[in-house]
């Protein structure tokens, strides 16, 4: 499709502004002004509406396609939460209002949303305090690692290392590293869990924290998790819980009860806020005990008279990690979702997410090699296309074939430790019929790998474009449209 810039026609306008109702009274000195106007599109409102409506149709989305993208929890996003976030009483609220003298009283409803959300998240995870400020999961991780650092500094300890398993999300080592730590990677053992011997060797008085996902990125719950957290605590290290996989264990276990000290939650995964084509997310961070002293400011507090206020007077705080109180619009949607589901609804989420994933595993394990040959998984299952590779078919080819069948492919080539990995996370909101048609398509792809591998190599054929040359894109980057005259 042509770019919106290529649809431009000089003089065309998409929106009209009101007439200037004040006298034209000043001219800004030329030296402060740009020479040429920005070359923005010149289109009518209909041009823009048609352009973006048609672009929207060139995407797979949860509302149009099954999207079993492992690690991303692409569940259905209930529509009423959109309506909640769009309420003018929240969406038009200026974030500096509560920073005016007595201004907290102007935003009591918004502060109550934040306060209640934090408390629900505490109960769900067992943590003692939450901040809703982090703007995405990785931002929560960074905040968490900064809390680790502040904690050790406060205790007068200098520690340099953060341990992550080799199956971790890439954001874990990246967050630890940009917060100033050296990363120690512990390999996964033959049983699919972190190698305990190597873990014990890696632990020392120089280790600040251990970052884990539980269930891990292979979709397994480590029954020995308590031993891992106990060993870390014995060495004086903190345990960080990457909450990306929380959808598996709501009401079944809680990170704090398992010995984790700090965690983040991806509201855009477990709590059903839409992923927005890559964001916005929201990554609230929870902590246990004295770690609450280090949380970023401001903190939402409830006064004795029942009103809410922002507290900035926290001596040990790490400071400001976001401009205000988090991605409020996202938090509001997640709050609405939690209220609608309630206790039983949330337990049902995990039970059905795990049921669906195990159903996929049970039906696919004869066709694709399950990672680490385990009988059961949690909310997602990792399969390998290594048998198909022997016939010259990669996980990528299977993914592209699934696109032609109308399915967004699973996450592929992650975790990095599984050869030709395909990570299937069906979520609790997909029906058995949908799972069955997806499973049939996966089985068909496996059969085609033997019978007609070229059919897979040439997929997809039904999309607006065929397979794209990613190497050329990186070699000669073309990252923006240029006006012809330039």
């Amino acid at each position: 499709m042509r770019l919106i810039f290529e649809k431009s026609s000089p003089g065309r306008r998409g929106v009209s502004l009101p007439e200037l109702d004040v006298p034209f009274s000043a001219v800004l000195d030329e030296k402060y002004c740009r020479k040429e106007p920005a070359c923005l599109p010149e289109v009518s409102e209909l041009d823009a509406v048609r352009h973006f409506s048609n672009l929207s149709r060139m995407n797979f989305s949860v509302d149009t396609n099954f999207y079993p993208l492992g690690s991303c929890t692409m569940k259905y996003n209930p529509k009423f939460t959109e309506a909640a976030a769009a309420m003018d009483e929240f969406s038009s609220l200026h974030p500096l209002l509560p920073q005016l003298l007595g201004g907290g009283m102007l935003v009591q409803g918004a502060l109550e949303v934040l306060y209640n959300t934090e408390h629900l998240l505490c109960e769900i995870t067992g943590m003692d305090a939450f901040t809703t400020q982090p703007l995405a999961g990785a931002h929560g991780e960074l905040t968490g690692v900064m809390l680790v650092s502040a904690y050790h500094k406060d205790k007068g300890r200098k520690r340099k290392y953060v341990i992550v398993p080799d199956s971790s999300h890439g954001t874990n080592p990246a967050s630890a590293s940009i917060a100033g730590y050296d990363v120690v990677v512990v390999p996964t053992g033959k049983d699919g869990f972190m190698d305990m011997e190597r873990y014990k060797q890696a632990l020392s008085e120089d280790v600040a924290a251990v970052m884990l996902t539980c269930p891990d990125t292979l979709g397994f719950f480590n029954p020995g998790i308590k031993e891992i957290t106990d060993l870390a605590h014995k060495a004086g290290a903190l345990m960080y819980y990457d909450g990306a996989n929380l959808n598996a264990v709501l009401g079944k276990c809680r990170p704090a009860d398992m010995g984790f000290d700090i965690m983040h939650i991806n509201l855009h995964k477990t709590f059903a806020t839409p992923h927005g084509g890559g964001g916005p997310g929201s990554g609230p961070v929870g902590v246990r005990g004295e770690l609450a002293d280090f949380l970023p400011i401001s903190r939402v507090v409830r006064r004795d008279d029942g009103t809410f206020a922002l507290d900035y007077s926290r001596r040990k705080t790490i400071g400001y990690i976001a401009p205000f109180y988090g991605n409020f619009g996202v938090i509001l949607k997640a709050y609405a979702y939690m209220l609608a589901l309630g206790k039983d609804g949330l337990i049902q989420v995990s039970e059905n997410a795990v049921l669906s994933a195990n159903y996929c595993l049970a039906r696919l394990k004869e066709h694709y090699l399950p990672a680490y040959a385990k009988e059961r998984c949690m909310h997602e299952c990792v399969l390998s296309a290594s048998a198909q590779l022997e016939k010259g078919v990669h996980a990528l080819d299977i993914a592209k074939y699934l696109i032609d069948k109308g399915f967004h492919p699973p996450t592929i080539y992650f975790p990095l430790i599984v050869k030709e990995a395909m990570m299937v996370e069906p979520t609790e909101t997909e029906s058995k019929e949908t799972l069955d048609t997806f499973i049939e398509a996966m089985i068909e792809a496996s059969k085609l790998a033997g019978a007609d591998p070229d059919a897979l190599h040439s997929a997809p054929v039904s999309m607006p474009v065929k397979r794209l040359d990613e190497t050329a894109a990186a070699r000669q980057p073309d990252l923006r449209w240029q006006a012809k005259s330039k």
């Binding site: 599109p41 973006f52 989305s61 200026h94 935003v107 990246a174 927005g276 795990v354 049970a362 039906r363």
Partner: protein, 445 residues
């Protein structure tokens, strides 16, 4: 309500296929001692009940105030088509376009958004978005540290205090040295910046318009900084770029900013939009996702995420940033907003903001005891000195229905009587007059 479609008989069939008798068996490896000590949550409610409850909370907010408050976050008009188009669930229920063939709509939109940011700033390359203006500034500072191999950063105190505080928080363990230079007569103090510039300086950070609303031309600071081998980072307000000299025209190396003003509601602080644009030679140090054009195997144009070797999912602890989720939907809003306004509309919008603020300055300066600071030109926000404490004036104005500005004493010592007033295109002449009359009356009270 739980949105789960499985019927009891379907569950039975699924359990049979798995070979277990109950869902409970699937959780058996979570040993009893790991089970929740408590899970005391309220019972679920219907959609209707939740919406009614949230409406009751909404009524506790003073969302009816007429905004003359800015401070980097502005009450601009959002055309209806922005909500209609960004509200299409084919956009908002998709995820990061990892599979390009079934994500061409998103990838093309990101490519177009990157073009808008490049056009507004004049710079060569933009990424697909960052969280907000503050984290964008932090990412820019870290880029400068990597590019120069130096660790000292000079920060003009006209840069939003919120962003400066965020910068210091993020770098507290990284041995980055910050030097703050003062604002004199509303503008960046060249003398002080040059005094601190040396061969250890990675970057000079400035903001245009600065927090006091003052407009500047940093060309001289750029020339001087480049002589020392330091980069210049400018945090800019995108609507002002409909009119003001671009970062590129000043020679700035990295431009960042908050994109909220481009079609994104204030929404009590988020979600917002961080943008970053750089000169071409710094492209490979950019954080986050970038969309690029390429061709498919038939030679047809298409779009992909590119230069991914910078990113955490490939490079892990050696990535340029840890960012994964960004603010794509907000970037889409900014793109739609810019497309609707277009070349002429964007220029006109900026001019309208400027003229309305100039008019407000004239009206306010007629109030006895109110002094409008005129030491430097401004865009749509300016500083006034009141005869009373600005905190107090703001309180009294709230009773009159106005969020009349931001009291600068909250962020700067010794400025207790100073008020920062913003006037966007949404403020009518009548509202400006009423604002001035109300201010006059509360000052007399």
């Amino acid at each position: 309500m739980n949105y789960i479609p499985h019927t009891d008989s379907e569950k039975e069939q699924m359990l049979d296929a798995i070979g277990v008798k109950s869902v409970g068996e699937l959780f058996e490896h979570i040993l009893p001692e790991l089970r929740p000590k408590s899970f005391d949550l309220p019972a679920g409610r219907s959609e209707f009940e939740v919406i009614e409850y949230l409406k009751s909370l909404g009524r506790k907010n003073s969302s009816h105030l007429t905004d003359f408050i800015g401070g980097g976050f502005y009450d601009h008009y959002i055309p209806s088509a922005v909500d209609a188009l960004a509200g299409r669930s084919e956009f908002y229920t998709a995820y990061t376009p990892y599979q390009p063939e079934c994500s061409q709509g998103w990838l093309q939109a990101i490519y177009e958004y990157q073009t808008v940011i490049c056009e507004l700033t004049g710079l060569d390359v933009s990424n697909a978005s960052l969280y907000d203006g503050g984290t964008a500034l932090y990412e820019a500072a870290m880029m400068a540290v990597r590019l120069t191999g130096r660790k000292k950063i000079i920060v003009d105190s006209g840069v939003n205090l919120i962003y400066r505080t965020m910068l210091y928080t993020y770098t507290s363990n990284l041995c980055v040295e910050f030097v703050e230079t003062p604002v004199v007569h509303g503008q960046s103090c060249r003398e002080d910046i040059y005094k601190h510039l040396d061969d250890k300086t990675a970057a000079v950070i400035v903001q245009n318009p600065n927090f006091f609303g003052a407009v500047d031309d940093f060309s001289d600071i750029v020339r001087q900084s480049h002589k020392s081998g330091a980069l210049v980072i400018a945090s800019v307000y995108p609507v002002s770029l409909g009119m003001l000299k671009t970062p590129a025209e000043m020679g700035v190396d990295i431009a960042t900013g908050e994109g909220q003003s481009m079609g994104i509601p204030l929404s009590f602080g988020g979600p917002y939009l961080g943008f970053i644009a750089v000169k071409k030679e710094h492209m490979r140090q950019l954080p986050g996702r970038i969309a690029g054009a390429t061709v498919d195997k038939d030679g047809k144009r298409g779009f992909v995420l590119t230069l991914q070797a910078r990113e955490q999912h490939i490079r892990r602890e050696r990535a340029t940033s840890n960012i994964c989720s960004n603010e794509a939907l907000c970037a889409l809003r900014a793109l739609i907003y810019s497309s609707l306004l277009g070349k002429e509309g964007f220029r006109q919008l900026a001019s309208m903001n400027y003229q309305k603020a100039e008019f407000a300055k004239k009206v306010l300066s007629k109030i006895k005891g109110v002094e409008v600071k005129r030491s430097s030109p401004t865009f749509n926000e300016f500083t006034v000195c009141l005869p009373i404490n600005a905190d107090e004036a703001v309180c009294r104005m709230i009773d009159k229905g106005f969020a009349c500005g931001f009291p600068l004493g909250r962020f700067y010592k010794g400025l207790d009587n100073y008020l920062l007033v913003a006037v966007t295109e949404k403020r009518s002449r009548e509202e400006i007059m009423r604002f001035a009359n109300s201010l006059e009356s509360v000052l007399c009270a």
